[in-house]
Point group: C2
Chain length 398, copies 2
C-alpha cells in the first residue's frame, strides 16, 4: 500500500486499469461466482469495486479450490482480482454505519443472496431506494425475486439441469452431461452487468436508480436459442446431438487419423469447397447433400463420408486442407493449448494477476476491447480479507 496523500481512494499502489466505467463505485456483497463475475467484468472496464465480506470467513470462494501451495484459492483470486475488501458484520451497529456511508457514495450495490436476506437486514430495495434514490441495486439470485420458487437456493448445476441446457448437451442415449464451465452463473453475471449499465444510462437521464433483478434460471432460458425455436416449430423437445449443430451441416467435430477437427461449412458454397478439398467432388452431385436442409436430414451420412476421407489424414493435415480452401475449421484444444494459441496471446486474453498474498496468477483477460482505452497485460491482485479497511474508513472520514 502506498500512503502518499494523492492515494485518497485507497486503491493501493497498483493502479486500476483506466476504463469507460472509471467514474463508478460498486459496493459488492456478492459471493462465489454470479455476482463476483459481474463485478469482475465491471472492474475490468475501470469500475472501482469494494467487496463487503463476512468477518472471519469472507467470500465462500476463498475456501473453494483449486488452491496454490500456500493454500490460497485460484478460483477466488482470478474472479476477484483488482477489487478491494472490507469485512463488515451487517448486524453490528458500527459496521452498519460504515456500510451505509459506503452506500451513500456508491453508484451500484450488487448482491446475490436469496431474496429476503437484504430485507431482514433492513437493506432491501425499497428501504435503500427511499434513502439513496440514485443508488442502483442489482440482485443476481438463483430463481429471481418474484414467483413461487423465489425463496429456493440454486447453484450453477441446479439451473443447468432445470433450464434445459443439460438436456441438449451430451450424446444421444448417453449419461447427463454438464457444460464444463459454470454457464449458469456466468450468464447471469453477464446479464447483471447489462442490467446495471442500462440502469446507469437511465439514471443519467432521470437521476433515479432502479432495481435490477436477474435470475440464474432465467439466464439459462435466454441462451437456449435454437432449442426453443425447434420446440416451438415441432412441439418436440430436442435431445443432445453430441458434437454437431442441430440445423447446420456439416458443422461438427469429425474424426481424423490422430484425433478430431471441427469443420463448419455453414453454406452450400463452403460445402462444395469442402468436397473438393477432401477429394470427393462427386458428393456435390449427391441429392442427399444438395442443400443444408437435406444435409442436416442426413447428418450421419455426411459425417460418414467426411470421416472416410479424413481417416488417412492427421488433424494438422486436415486443417491445412480446410484452411487452404477457406473453410472455417479448427483444432480441438485443451485449456493449455487454448491459452497458448497465438491468436489468444495476441489478443491479450491471458493476463497476469495475483493471489491475495501477491503470488503471481495467470487468468483470463477482458474480451471487450475498446479503442479509447488500453488493454493492460496485468491486473492488480485479489484482496486479502479486510485488506482495505483502514484506507476505506479514512476515505469515509470514519
Amino acid at each position: 500500500m502506498s500512503d502518499s496523500p494523492e492515494n485518497s481512494d485507497a486503491r493501493g499502489s497498483e493502479a486500476k486499469p483506466a476504463g469507460p466505467l472509471s467514474d463508478l463505485l460498486i459496493v459488492d456483497l456478492s459471493r462465489v461466482l454470479a455476482g463476483p463475475y459481474a463485478t469482475m467484468v465491471l472492474a475490468d472496464l475501470g469500475a472501482r469495486v469494494i467487496k463487503v465480506e463476512q468477518p472471519g470467513k469472507g467470500d465462500d470462494s476463498r475456501h473453494i479450490g483449486p488452491f496454490n501451495a500456500a493454500g490460497q484459492s485460484a478460483y477466488f483470486s482470478s474472479i476477484n482480482r483488482g477489487k478491494q475488501s472490507i469485512a463488515l458484520d451487517l448486524k453490528d451497529a458500527a459496521h452498519r454505519e460504515t456500510f451505509e456511508a459506503l452506500l451513500a457514495k456508491a453508484d451500484v450495490v450488487v448482491e446475490n443472496y436469496r431474496p429476503g436476506v437484504m430485507e431482514k437486514l433492513g437493506y432491501g430495495w425499497a428501504a435503500l431506494h427511499a434513502r439513496f434514490p440514485r443508488l442502483i441495486y442489482a440482485a443476481a439470485s438463483g430463481f429471481g425475486h418474484t414467483g413461487p420458487d423465489r425463496d429456493k437456493a440454486a447453484y450453477d448445476m441446479v439451473v443447468q439441469a432445470m433450464g434445459g441446457i443439460m438436456s441438449i448437451t451430451g450424446h444421444p442415449g448417453g449419461p447427463p452431461t454438464r457444460v464444463g464451465t459454470s454457464v449458469g452463473d456466468i450468464t447471469a453475471g453477464l446479464f447483471t452487468v447489462i442490467g446495471i449499465l442500462s440502469a446507469v444510462h437511465h439514471r443519467a437521464a432521470t437521476g433515479e436508480g432502479m432495481f435490477v433483478d436477474v435470475a440464474m434460471l432465467d439466464g439459462q432460458i435466454a441462451i437456449l436459442e435454437n432449442a426453443i425455436a425447434r420446440y416451438a416449430v415441432t412441439g418436440v423437445a430436442p435431445g443432445p446431438l453430441g458434437a454437431r449443430h442441430p440445423s447446420i451441416t456439416p458443422f461438427a467435430a469429425y474424426a481424423c487419423a490422430d484425433g478430431h477437427v471441427v469443420i463448419a461449412a455453414g453454406n452450400d458454397a463452403l460445402w462444395g469447397k469442402l468436397c473438393d478439398a477432401i477429394c470427393a467432388p462427386e458428393l456435390k452431385d449427391d441429392p442427399r447433400f444438395a442443400t443444408n436442409a437435406t444435409r442436416t436430414d442426413h447428418a450421419e451420412e455426411v459425417a460418414a463420408v467426411i470421416e472416410a476421407r479424413l481417416a488417412g489424414l492427421t488433424a494438422g493435415e486436415a486443417l491445412a486442407l480446410c484452411e487452404a480452401a477457406g473453410i472455417p475449421s479448427g483444432p480441438l484444444q485443451d485449456t493449455e493449448q487454448a491459452l497458448n494459441h497465438r491468436q489468444v496471446r495476441a489478443r491479450n486474453m491471458v493476463i497476469q494477476t495475483g493471489f491475495p498474498d501477491g503470488a503471481p496468477l495467470t487468468a483470463a483477460g477482458n474480451p471487450v476491447k475498446l479503442s479509447a482505452y488500453p488493454d493492460p497485460t496485468t491486473r492488480p491482485k485479489a484482496p486479502r480479507l479486510d485488506e482495505h479497511r483502514d484506507a476505506i474508513l479514512k476515505e469515509l472520514g470514519l
Copy 2:
C-alpha cells in the same frame, strides 16, 4: 403499418417495449447469431434496431431452420423479433446515401463481418469515426480485429473447439461434446452489449464514440473460469468431468430409480443435511468425506454412496427429501419441461412474438428485469426483408 402522423419513427403499429435504452438507435449490419443476439438484447431493453440486410437474400439465418409450415425460419424470427428491416446494397451509390443518412442519426453501428470487409466498403472504423464522431462502432468477429488470425472465418463450433470449452465438456474418455447451445456466439453477443453500453457511458461524458472489438474466441477464454484456475495451479490441462463440478462435491447429477436428479450440496453443513436426508448419517463421520476438498478427491465414492441410497427412490421422491432438508437440488428438465416450469412462467421468460408474416411464435423472454419498466409478455414480430424501407426513407427525408 399505421400511417398516423405521430408514427414518425416507422416502428409500425406494434409498440416497441419501453426500456432504459429507448433513446438509442442501432444500425445493425450483423447476420446469423452473435451480432443479432446482441441487438436482440438491446431491443429488449428498448433500443430501436434497424437491420440493414443484403437485397434479395437478407440475413443468412432467414434460410437456416427450423422452419414453420410456411417456410419461415423460427431461428431467424426468434432472434430478430421487434427489429426493422431495410435492404441496402452497400456498393450502390443511392443505397450508400441512405445508409449514410441512417448512420448520421444512429448511436451505434453493429457488424459481424470478417475484419476488412467494412474497410473495403469505405465504412471502416477510422472512416466512420472521422465523419460521425459520436457514432459507436461495435464489431463482433470470430477472431477479433487484431492478431495473426484476424482474417480467418469462425463459426460457433470452431471457437467452442479452439477456446477449450469442448475439452472440459463431456465424459472422461468419451467422444468430443459440443455445448448444446451456441455459447460461442451468445457469449460474444453479451460481451458486445457490455462493450456498447460502456461506450455509451463514455460518450455521455466525452461526446466521442469508440470502437468496440469483441472476438468469439476471446469470449470463450473469458468463460473458461475454473478450468484456467486449475491449469494455473497444477500446470495440467483439465479434462471433461461428465456431470459433476470440478471442485465442489457433491455437486452433480445422480441416478435415482427412474432418472437423474441434480444435488448441489456446496458446503459442509449441506453435506451433513444430505447424509441425514438420505438416511446415511454415518457418512458424516467418514474421514474420506470430512471436507469439500476430501469429498472432491473421492468424488466417485461420494457418487456411489449417494446413488446407493437414491436407487430406491424416484426422482420426485429424492427431490422432495432434498427440498424438505433445504438442500439445493433440481430435476433434469428438457426444453418443454423448462419452458413450462412454474417459475419460468411466473418470471415471464416465455414470450410471444411472430414470424415475418405475423404467424405466432414462442420465444425466450428478457432475463434483465428492471423495476422502472414493465416486462411485456409479447414482442413485435420479426421483419420481412425490406419491410420498413418506405417508412425509413420517409423518416430520413429521402
